[in-house]
Symmetry: C2
Subunit: 359 residues, 2 copies
């Protein structure tokens, strides 16, 4: 074990990382099934290349367990159970475990009723939304997942200066006859994770996705960290931000609204309010009829002439799925910031860090 940050990203076997993360979470107090669910979702995030939302979250999760802001014991409380719609109070239990459990329930209801919706208030953070989707599309289900966090606000309403929203992501998994479409986008112009990382590195955003405290659009993320602070624009920016604003409000309604918990209540700290819907194409025109259409559309996209010579038109999730396949074979490259965050926890909890692969 080294205490200096490695200069480059080291690669580790995925299964060893899952084992390591499971052991750390277990040693911190999570039961084995909960620990393993969280570990699998975090490593799946890294496998797909979402390196701010994979094992980068493990140290903060371990700290939340220690601080008892993440609960370890028991089950979610059922707030309401209509046949096709279930509402849980997540009791601040680990988000990935809650979401995987909710996916099973939503899938079961979708098979009976056509669609199944589970809304969770007071979940802890749910990590990388894209990491869940293939589990649904592999079962021939269309899945929609959205979340917000009422404890935080960095995105202003369109035309305003004061932050009201989190970046309120929406993810969707769409089965086709071959590679599924996996969508995971924020309804804001950019995210807290990217702006924070670029600010730390002294970098600029790819476009004017933020405004300073006077409402001037800029690509400089540091305006979010100055006093008075600027805000992140809604998706669409200055010329079309009313669209991102509308989508953000829809996510708030589907999460905080349906859950009956959110920005009207006291701040309970880092967490998530979750909307999850499974749609079973078998209950509509049939799974074959569904994938026939989705495959035709994705094929038409891939066959489009690229706007830049030498590139190809891809479908959402394609790159992440390819990266996951590759990294399952060759090892998961962890962002250089991750191992140094986990080393103190490994030492404290007595869990050995897996050996990196030597390439």
């Amino acid at each position: 074990m080294t205490t200096a940050a490695p200069a480059t990203a080291l690669a580790y076997p995925a299964d060893k990382l899952v084992e390591f993360a499971t052991q750390l979470l277990f040693a911190a107090g999570l039961g084995e099934r909960k620990a393993n669910a969280v570990a699998r979702i975090l490593v799946d995030g890294d496998l797909m290349g979402h390196d701010t939302h994979g094992l980068a979250l493990l140290a903060p999760y371990l700290a939340a367990i220690e601080a008892k802001t993440m609960q370890v014991d028991g089950e979610p409380e059922v707030v309401a159970d209509a046949p096709a719609a279930v509402t849980w109070d997540g009791r601040r239990l680990p988000g990935p475990w809650l979401v995987l459990k909710a996916m099973d329930l939503a899938a079961e209801r979708a098979q009976k009723f056509g669609t199944g919706t589970v809304v969770i208030r007071r979940s802890h953070h749910i990590a990388c939304l894209a990491a869940y989707l293939k589990r649904a599309t592999d079962r021939g289900l269309l899945m929609i997942l959205a979340c917000s966090d009422p404890a935080s606000a960095s995105v202003a309403p369109f035309g305003g200066l004061d932050p009201v929203f989190t970046p309120n992501p929406v993810a969707a998994g769409i089965p086709t006859s071959d590679m599924p479409v996996l969508i995971d986008i924020s309804t804001s112009a950019t995210t807290n994770g990217l702006t924070k990382r670029l600010h730390g590195e002294g970098g600029k955003l790819p476009a004017a996705w933020v405004i300073d405290s006077n409402g001037n659009a800029t690509d400089d993320p540091s305006v979010l960290f100055s006093k008075p602070a600027g805000t992140i624009l809604p998706l669409g920016g200055l010329d079309s931000g009313h669209k991102g604003y509308g989508l953000t409000l829809l996510v708030e309604a589907l999460t905080g609204g349906l859950a009956g918990h959110g920005r009207a209540d006291d701040n309970e700290g880092w967490g998530a309010t979750v909307f999850l819907q499974m749609i079973d194409p078998r209950a509509f025109a049939g799974l074959d009829a569904f994938t026939r259409q989705t495959s035709a559309v994705t094929q038409q996209c891939r066959e489009s002439r690229p706007s830049k010579p030498g590139t190809t038109v891809r479908t959402p999730g394609e790159r992440g799925l390819e990266r996951a396949t590759y990294q399952l074979e060759t090892g998961v490259k962890l962002h250089p910031s991750i191992a140094p965050m986990l080393e103190p926890w490994a030492a404290k909890l007595g869990v050995p860090i897996p050996a990196p692969l030597v390439n």
Copy 2:
């Protein structure tokens, strides 16, 4: 009756416009209930100020009835009926009548099962999506409405030159304790209607929302009408268009995919594939808990300091609702292009045009 286009927009009493449109559609062959449903939705579009998607559509609808590309007789065919999910073949019946009927069914199922979804293939055009929403929010229901038209393509996938999609709008109505939030956005950077109108007027778009046939972004809508033609960018434009592209693909899956009819099939001409979902907050944490959150969030938005002095932060739909209230009292101002389109139909079908209000 005058045959010259009026120089300015004339105003008409809303109820007289509904009566006039109903009579025209009835004289063209639609039954009275169908005719009235279509007329009400079209006039509601104009009342809210959506003047490309109100009575501007009546002449094309009358032409479609005459050409028998819009059917007038009978009911939609039930393709599938799972408890919370119903699929119809709309048999090219009038879209507004089908959607209003589907809303009643979806609301009934939502009251029983928590959510109710109706998907319609082979609907005729459904006009202004925003015009439907208040009927749901008035009943305390959250409604999501999306559509696509497989007969048309003007939007390219992100990074591509060849059009695959329609602007694939998504609309949502969200109840609050006072003014509802009514969202109606295309998942593309702009619409066919706006680009066509500005091209005709020789105008420019507010931003670079289209690309020419070489992939260069521009605010000039004429690139869509030249040979070879350019395309409309996805929402997010060149720097964030992967987000609009993802949302567009989701709309395709919810419409063409679930309906089992779309871009994998032969082109049947102007129409719509419709996804409609009603969500009953009473089945989740309760309607009061829902509106408590949505009202808190919209209030926080309205209280945000505006980014431009002298403006205020509004919520989606606010302007349209205010305009509808105002125009119900003072008369509906029709775009100057509309009356000249309807005059030949009024003469042909023997229906008198209502007298404009004299202000």
